[in-house]
Symmetry: C2
Subunit: 339 residues, 2 copies
C-alpha cells in the first residue's frame, strides 16, 4: 500500500501519523510546497518519504490525500491529473466542497477514483508539529462522492475515515457547504470580528489585562491560520454571508430585549431556554433523536441518560422552578424578602 | 480571623477553599439560600460552619464576602446592614459594579468597611462542586473603593486578592462596567446568540452532528448559569448594548468584504492582521507595553521574548511574505503555476 499526502500541515501530517499508527508498514510519501514542512512531517514519522513534487509523490500511489488549504487544491489536482494511476483513489480534506468538486471534474475528468471529503476535526495550531495520530478519533468525516466515483473509491475513502477513528457521513457538496458555514465558518468569522472589536478599542491595554477565559475562548478562532481562513471565506462566500446575516439578526434581537426593561421576563426566558438547550447539546444530545435505528446515537443516548440523566433532569427542573420564581419575583420585586 | 461568605456557589466556595488552603486555622462561616449548596461547600472544606441566615453568618465576622449573583447582593446588603460589626471589612464579587456601589451606599450608609470587588475568574460550571482553591491564581481582581472606604478596608480587600494569588487592579465602577461589558458580558451574549442561531435552524440535527471544537468553543458561554447571566445583563444594560452594537458593525464590515470579490485583498489583509494581533495577545502581550515600570508585565515580556520570540518573529515574517505573495497571485491568478 502506497499513500501520497500532498500538503503535510496539521491535517496531512495527522493523516500520515494516524495511518502509520495503524499500519506501520504503509509507505507514505509526502509533498509540501514548504520543504521544511515536509521535512518536519518526515522527522515526526508522519511520512516515510519526502517527494520533490506532487507528480513524484502520486506516481505509483494507491491512495492520494490532498490536504492543502482549499485554494491550493486546484493546483494539486491540475498537477497530478496526468500522473496519477487510473485505479488510484484520490480524496481531499478541504473545508469547503462545492468548489473542490468543480475543480476535480475540470481536472480529473472521468477518473473514477476521486471522492471529496472533509474530516470535521482540527486545532487552531497549524503545521506538522501540531499533528496528532488521534486527531480524527470520534470526529465526523464528511464524504462527498461525485457521480463519476466508483463504488470501490467511495468504499476506500469511507474505510480510511473509519480506520482513522472517525464516523463517515455521506452528503452532497452544497449540503456540506451550507452546514459547515453555520457551525464552523461563520463562528470563525464571528470570533475574528469579536477580537477586532476589542483590539481596535482605545481601552485595549486595560481590556487585554482584564480579559479572562470567556474572551480567550470566544477569540480563539481569530488565531486560525490566515491562509486557511481566507481560502474558506472565498470558496463559501454566500453561505457564510447568509449565516453572518442570521447571526446579526439574533444579536439585534438580544440587544432589543436587553435595552427594554419591560422585556426582562422575555430576556430571562431566552437566556434560560438557551442554557437548557446548551446543556442537552453538551451532554451529547445531537442528531435526530427519533432516529432510533442509528446504533451510535442510541448508544450515546443510553450512556448519557445513564451517566448524566439524573443530573440533567435535576438541572432542568431547577431551572424551570427558578424561571417561575423569577417571573413571580418580577411581579412583586419591591417589598418582598425571601433571604 | 472570622470570615463570612454569603453565597457558596463557584466563587464563594472557591474563595473559602483558597483562604483555607493558605490559612488552615481561619474560621469560615458560609450561608447560601440553597441549603444543599452550603452543605456541599461544607463537605468540600470551603467553609467550616454553616449559618442559617446572612445575619447569623456576619455576626462577629471580621471579613464578609458576598458572592451571590448580582441581583441578590442588594438583599444581602440590606439583611446584614444592622448586624455587621462596625470595623468589619465587607466586599462582594459581583460581575457588575455601578449598581452594587449604589446599593452599598443605600444600605450600609457611612460604614467604612465596604469595598467592591470583582475577581476576573470563573468557569462555565457553577456551584460549590466546581470550586477550586486555585481559581484566582494569575487572575486580575478589580477593586472598587467608594469614597466612604477606610484605607484599612481597601488594604484588606487588596491583600485578600493578593493572598488568593490574583493581581489587584483598582478602578472606578463605571470604568469597570464599561471594560467588562467589552471582554466578558458582550462575548457571553455573542455566544448565546451564536448558539441560538444554530439551534433554531431546521438543520440542527445535522449541524449538531457536524459541530466540532470551533462551535463548541464559541457556544460554551451560552451554558452560563442563567441567574448569573440575567443579573449581569440587567445591571449593565447600556454598556453591553453598546458593545453588541460595535460587534454588529464589525460583523457587517466583514460580511461586506466577504461578499464583494473585488475586496478579496482587503479581506485577506484583515484576516491576516487580526491573526497577527491574536498571536501577540495569546503570547501574553497585554496591558500598556510602554509601562516598563510594571514589573510583572516586563517579566512576562522577557519570558515571552525568550520562549516564543523566535517562533513569533518567524511567524510574523512568514505571514507578511504570504500576504505579499497572495496579493501578487491575485493579480495574475490565472495562467500562473508555482507548485
Amino acid at each position: 500500500m502506497r499513500i501520497a499526502i500532498l500538503g503535510t500541515g496539521l491535517i496531512g501530517a495527522s493523516v500520515g501519523l494516524a495511518i502509520r499508527a495503524r499500519q506501520p508498514d504503509a509507505v507514505v510519501v509526502g509533498y509540501d510546497r514548504e520543504v521544511r514542512f515536509a521535512a518536519a512531517a518526515h522527522r515526526a514519522g508522519a511520512i516515510t518519504e519526502v517527494a520533490n513534487s506532487p507528480v513524484e509523490a502520486v506516481r505509483d500511489a494507491d491512495v492520494v490525500v490532498i490536504a492543502t488549504p482549499v485554494l491550493a487544491i486546484e493546483k494539486m489536482l491540475e498537477a497530478i491529473a496526468g500522473a496519477v494511476k487510473p485505479d488510484a483513489v484520490i480524496t481531499d480534506t478541504g473545508s469547503t466542497k462545492a468548489q473542490v468538486m468543480d475543480w476535480a471534474r475540470k481536472h480529473l475528468g472521468e477518473h473514477k477514483g476521486f471522492v471529496g471529503s472533509h474530516p470535521m476535526a482540527g486545532k487552531t495550531e497549524s503545521g506538522p508539529m501540531a499533528a496528532d495520530a488521534a486527531l480524527f478519533e470520534g470526529a465526523r468525516w464528511v464524504i462527498v462522492p461525485p457521480v463519476t466515483a466508483s463504488e470501490r473509491s467511495i468504499d476506500s475513502v469511507t474505510n480510511l475515515a473509519t480506520l482513522l477513528g472517525a464516523t463517515p457521513m455521506i452528503m452532497d457538496a452544497a449540503e456540506h457547504d451550507a452546514y459547515v458555514a453555520a457551525i464552523s465558518h461563520m463562528p470563525m468569522m464571528a470570533s475574528t470580528a469579536l477580537f477586532t472589536v476589542a483590539r481596535a478599542s482605545e481601552a485595549w491595554p486595560e481590556l487585554s489585562l482584564l480579559a479572562a477565559g470567556g474572551f480567550q475562548g470566544m477569540s480563539r478562532l481569530a488565531g486560525t491560520d490566515p491562509a486557511m481562513a481566507y481560502d474558506i471565506a472565498v470558496t463559501n462566500r454566500a453561505n457564510i454571508a447568509h449565516w453572518i446575516g442570521r447571526y446579526i439578526v439574533a444579536l439585534e434581537e438580544l440587544r432589543r430585549r436587553l435595552v427594554d426593561s419591560e422585556k426582562d421576563d422575555d430576556l430571562y426566558r431566552v437566556i434560560a431556554a438557551t442554557e437548557l438547550e446548551h446543556i442537552k447539546y453538551s451532554a451529547g444530545k445531537v442528531g435526530r433523536e427519533e432516529q432510533t435505528n442509528e446504533r451510535i446515537d442510541s448508544a450515546t443516548d443510553m450512556m448519557q441518560d445513564f451517566i448524566a440523566g439524573g443530573w440533567l433532569r435535576e438541572k432542568l427542573n431547577e431551572a424551570k422552578l427558578e424561571a417561575g420564581r423569577r417571573v413571580k419575583e418580577d411581579d412583586n420585586r419591591i417589598g418582598r424578602r425571601d433571604i
